[in-house]
C-alpha cells in the first residue's frame, strides 16, 4: 500500500468506478420512469419498432450523459468541522453539514459495487426530508475513514487507514461483540419471521405460474398408463391437503432465504469511548448486499423490541434502533399500530435478541435505567370495555345477517360467538398494554400475539401531548403521547390525573436536562 492516508480536506470526486455505479443507478431510475414506453414497444407492430429503438437509444445516451455530469459535478470534502458537498448539474448546490448534525453514516455494498470493489456511503442528518446524502463509490477503507471523520464530531483530524484498522482490531480484540450470528441462529431467525406476508407472495406466485403448471401436468398425464390414472384420480383429493403444505413450505423457504441473505455474518459491537461521546453501535451484515451501519450511542432516540409468537418460541426478539431521522418521524396518526411505527429513514434492525442480549443492549443504550424503583402504569378497565364494545358492534351485522338468513336461533348463536370471541381478544389486548417508568425513561408495551415494546428517554423528548374526548373526560381517562425525533411512545387510557402528572414530570425532565439530546 503506497497511499494509506486519505486526504478529505481538499474537494474530491468519488472513485472512478462510481461512474459505472451511477450509470446503473440512473438506468434503474430511467427504467422505472419509462416502463409504459417499454410496454408500448412490446405490443407495437414491427414497422414502428424503429422509433422505439430510437427512443431507447436516446434514453441510454441520456442516462450515460446524466451519470457522467452527475459524477463530474459531485465533489465533497471535510474541513473545519463541516462536511461540504458540491453537486448539481444545472443548479449548483453547496451543502455544508456541521459534523455534530450528522446522525448516522452507513456504508453499503450492493452487487455492482462488490464487483468493482467499491462501496456506497449514506449520510443522514436530522434535517428536513431528502437531506440524506449519498456517495456512490469509495474504496472500502476510504469509506471507513470518511465515516470515522464524519462521526468524530469535535476531532476532525485526518485519520489514516492504519488508524481505522487498528481501532477495529482493538475493538474486536478487547471487547466481545454483542451479537455474532452463527448459522443455526441465522436459520432460527429465518424460521421465526412473519411468514404471513410471504404466504400471499407464494399464492401469487402459484397463480402466476399455474398456466405453465397445467401444461406440464397435461403432458405428464398423457404419458401415464391407464391403471395409474385410476389410482391418481382416486388420490386427487389429497391435492387439497397438500397445497396448503406446499404454500407454507414455499413461504418459509422465502423467509429463510431472505433472512440468510440479509443477516449473513451479522456482527454487532460497540466501539469508542462513552466519555468522549464517540461510543457507537456498529453493525455489519449481508451476503449479496453488504451493509455496515453505525449509530452513536448518545444519538439513539427511540428503541423498539418486536416479537411474534414464533419468535417468542425461539426466545428471539427483533430490536429496531433509531436516531433522529431526516424528515422527522411519521405522525402518530399516520403510522399503523397506534403510532408505534416510525418513519422511513435509516434505522438499525437487529434480529435474535434473547433476554440476555436485550439486557446488555438496554444497559448500553439507557445506562441509567432503571434509575430507581420502577412504577408500573396500566390502562383503566374502561380501555377493555370500550374496545370490546367497538369491536363487538363492528361484528354485529354478521349476527344480524345470520339471523335474517337462517333464523333467530342461528343469529343469536353467531352473535354470542362473535361477542365472546372479541371479548376474549380485547381482554388479551388489554392485558398486553402496560408501561413501566423510573421517572426518566418509559417503556411501553402493547400487543398480544404481536408484541411491541417501545423505550425512550424523557430527556430526549420533543413534545408531550395529552388528549381526551368528551367521553374520556367524563370517565376520567386520557391518552398521553411522548414525541421523540424518531417515533412516539403512547400510553392510552391512563387516569387523567396520572397522565397529567406524568406529562409534568416528563416536561420537567426535559427542561432540567442540560446536555445535548442529539
Amino acid at each position: 500500500m503506497a497511499e494509506t492516508r486519505f486526504a478529505f480536506e481538499v474537494p474530491r470526486r468519488q472513485h472512478a468506478v462510481g461512474l459505472l455505479v451511477l450509470v446503473g443507478w440512473q438506468a434503474q431510475m430511467m427504467l422505472r420512469a419509462a416502463w409504459p414506453i417499454l410496454i408500448a414497444a412490446y405490443v407495437q407492430q414491427e414497422e414502428d419498432a424503429k422509433y422505439f429503438a430510437w427512443a431507447i437509444g436516446a434514453g441510454a445516451v441520456l442516462t450515460v450523459l446524466g451519470a457522467v455530469l452527475h459524477f463530474w459535478r459531485f465533489s465533497f470534502n471535510v474541513k473545519d468541522g463541516k462536511f461540504h458537498v458540491h453537486k448539481g448539474v444545472f443548479v449548483r448546490e453547496k451543502i455544508n453539514i456541521p459534523l455534530e448534525r450528522v446522525q448516522a453514516v452507513h456504508v453499503e455494498q450492493n452487487l455492482i459495487q462488490r464487483v468493482f470493489g467499491v462501496c456506497g456511503l449514506r449520510v443522514d442528518t436530522a434535517g428536513s426530508s431528502g437531506s440524506e446524502l449519498r456517495i456512490h463509490a469509495l474504496k472500502w477503507a476510504e469509506a471507513q475513514t470518511l465515516r470515522e471523520m464524519l462521526t468524530a464530531e469535535d476531532i476532525p483530524v485526518e485519520v489514516s487507514a492504519e488508524h481505522v484498522i487498528a481501532t477495529n482490531a482493538r475493538a474486536s480484540g478487547t471487547r466481545p461483540p454483542l451479537l455474532e450470528l452463527d448459522m443455526p441462529t441465522l436459520l432460527k431467525v429465518g424460521l421465526s419471521q412473519n411468514h404471513l406476508a410471504k404466504v400471499a407472495f407464494a399464492i401469487g406466485g402459484l397463480i402466476t405460474f399455474q398456466g405453465v403448471a397445467w401444461e406440464v401436468v397435461a403432458e405428464l398425464w398423457a404419458r401415464v398408463p391407464g391403471l395409474w390414472r385410476t389410482i391418481l384420480l382416486f388420490l386427487s383429493p389429497l391435492i387439497l391437503v397438500i397445497s396448503p403444505v406446499v404454500i407454507a413450505t414455499v413461504a418459509v423457504a422465502i423467509s429463510l432465504v431472505t433472512s440468510v441473505l440479509k443477516h449473513w455474518q451479522l456482527r454487532l459491537w460497540v466501539e469508542g469511548s462513552r466519555a468522549k461521546r464517540t461510543a457507537a453501535l456498529h453493525l455489519t451484515q449481508g451476503l449479496l448486499n453488504r451493509q455496515s451501519m453505525q449509530i452513536p450511542l448518545h444519538k439513539v432516540q427511540w428503541v423498539m423490541w418486536e416479537s411474534t409468537w414464533i419468535r417468542r418460541l425461539f426466545s428471539m426478539d427483533t430490536v429496531h434502533i433509531r436516531q433522529a431521522a431526516a424528515g422527522g418521524a411519521v405522525d402518530a396518526s399516520q403510522a399503523g399500530n397506534g403510532g408505534m411505527d416510525g418513519g422511513g429513514g435509516m434505522k438499525m434492525g437487529i434480529p435474535a435478541m434473547n433476554s440476555l442480549r436485550t439486557r446488555r443492549l438496554e444497559a448500553l443504550l439507557f445506562p441509567s435505567w432503571p434509575e430507581r424503583r420502577l412504577v408500573t402504569l396500566r390502562p383503566v378497565k374502561y380501555a377493555f370495555w370500550i374496545r370490546w364494545v367497538k369491536r363487538g358492534v363492528m361484528l354485529t351485522p354478521l349476527a344480524v345477517g345470520a339471523g335474517w338468513a337462517l333464523g333467530l336461533v342461528w343469529g343469536l348463536a353467531v352473535g354470542a360467538l362473535c361477542w365472546s370471541w372479541v371479548g376474549w381478544l380485547s381482554r388479551k389486548a388489554y392485558r398486553g398494554q402496560w408501561a413501566t417508568t423510573d421517572g426518566r425513561h418509559v417503556s411501553a408495551h402493547r400487543g398480544w400475539l404481536f408484541r411491541r415494546r417501545v423505550m425512550i428517554d424523557w430527556t430526549k423528548l420533543q413534545a408531550v401531548q395529552l388528549s381526551q374526548n368528551r367521553i374520556h373526560a367524563r370517565r376520567g381517562v386520557a391518552h398521553l403521547t411522548f414525541h421523540t425525533s424518531s417515533g412516539v411512545a403512547q400510553l392510552n387510557y391512563l387516569p387523567t390525573q396520572v397522565a397529567r402528572d406524568l406529562r409534568d414530570l416528563a416536561m420537567s425532565r426535559v427542561v432540567s436536562h442540560d446536555g445535548p439530546w442529539m
Binding site: A126, V330, A332, A463, M507
Partner: protein, 175 residues
C-alpha cells in the same frame, strides 16, 4: 436554568401545568373561524341546494322531497356539529408560555394539550394570511425535530405577542 439533576422527588414538587392559567387567543381569531364556518356553510349549502333547485325549476320532473330531507339533514348535522365544536371549543382554546416551555390547548369534543420545551424548538415561523391581515392576527408555528404531532401551531396571536414569544425563545434556547 435550575440544576434539577437526576433526583426524582415527589410529584407535588414539580412545576405542574395548571390549565386555568391558559391565555385566551385574540377574539379576532374567533371572528376568522366564524367567517370560515359561514363561508363553508354557504358554499356547501349552495352546492347542495343549487342543482336540486335547478332540477325542480327546469328539469322534467322535480326531485323527490325525500332527497331534500336527506341532503338537508346531513348538511345541517355536519354544519351543526362543526358549529357546536367551534362555539364550545372557543373558550377552551388557549396557550401558555412558561419559563421553559410553551403549551397550547384546543378542541372541545376531542381536547388536545401539547407541551413543547423551548430547548427542542428547531425553528419558528410567523404566518399571516389574508384573513389574518384583515382581522389583525397571526399564527406562530414552532417546529421541533419530531413528527407533525410534535409541532406547535398557535393561531390567533397579535403580531407583537408572536414576536415576543419568538424573542423569548431565541434567548431561552441559547441561554
Amino acid at each position: 436554568m435550575p440544576h434539577l439533576k437526576n433526583e426524582l422527588v415527589d410529584l407535588s414538587g414539580w412545576p405542574e401545568l395548571d390549565e386555568v392559567d391558559l391565555v385566551a387567543v385574540l377574539p379576532a381569531y374567533a371572528k376568522a373561524r366564524a367567517v370560515v364556518w359561514g363561508a363553508v356553510a354557504l358554499g356547501t349549502g349552495l352546492l347542495v341546494a343549487g342543482p336540486l333547485t335547478a332540477l325542480a325549476v327546469w328539469g322534467d320532473s322535480a326531485p323527490p322531497w325525500q332527497l331534500w330531507v336527506i341532503l338537508g339533514g346531513v348538511w345541517s348535522l355536519v354544519m351543526g356539529l362543526w358549529g357546536l365544536e367551534e362555539r364550545k371549543g372557543w373558550p377552551l382554546r388557549g396557550y401558555l408560555v412558561r419559563e421553559h416551555d410553551v403549551v397550547y390547548r384546543s378542541g372541545w369534543w376531542s381536547r388536545t394539550v401539547v407541551a413543547v420545551p423551548f430547548s427542542r424548538i428547531q425553528h419558528s415561523e410567523i404566518q399571516q394570511g389574508p384573513l389574518g391581515r384583515w382581522l389583525g392576527y397571526c399564527t406562530l408555528k414552532l417546529y421541533t425535530a419530531g413528527a407533525a404531532g410534535a409541532n406547535l401551531e398557535i393561531p390567533g396571536l397579535s403580531m407583537a405577542t408572536a414576536r415576543n414569544i419568538r424573542r423569548l425563545l431565541e434567548d431561552g434556547s441559547h441561554g
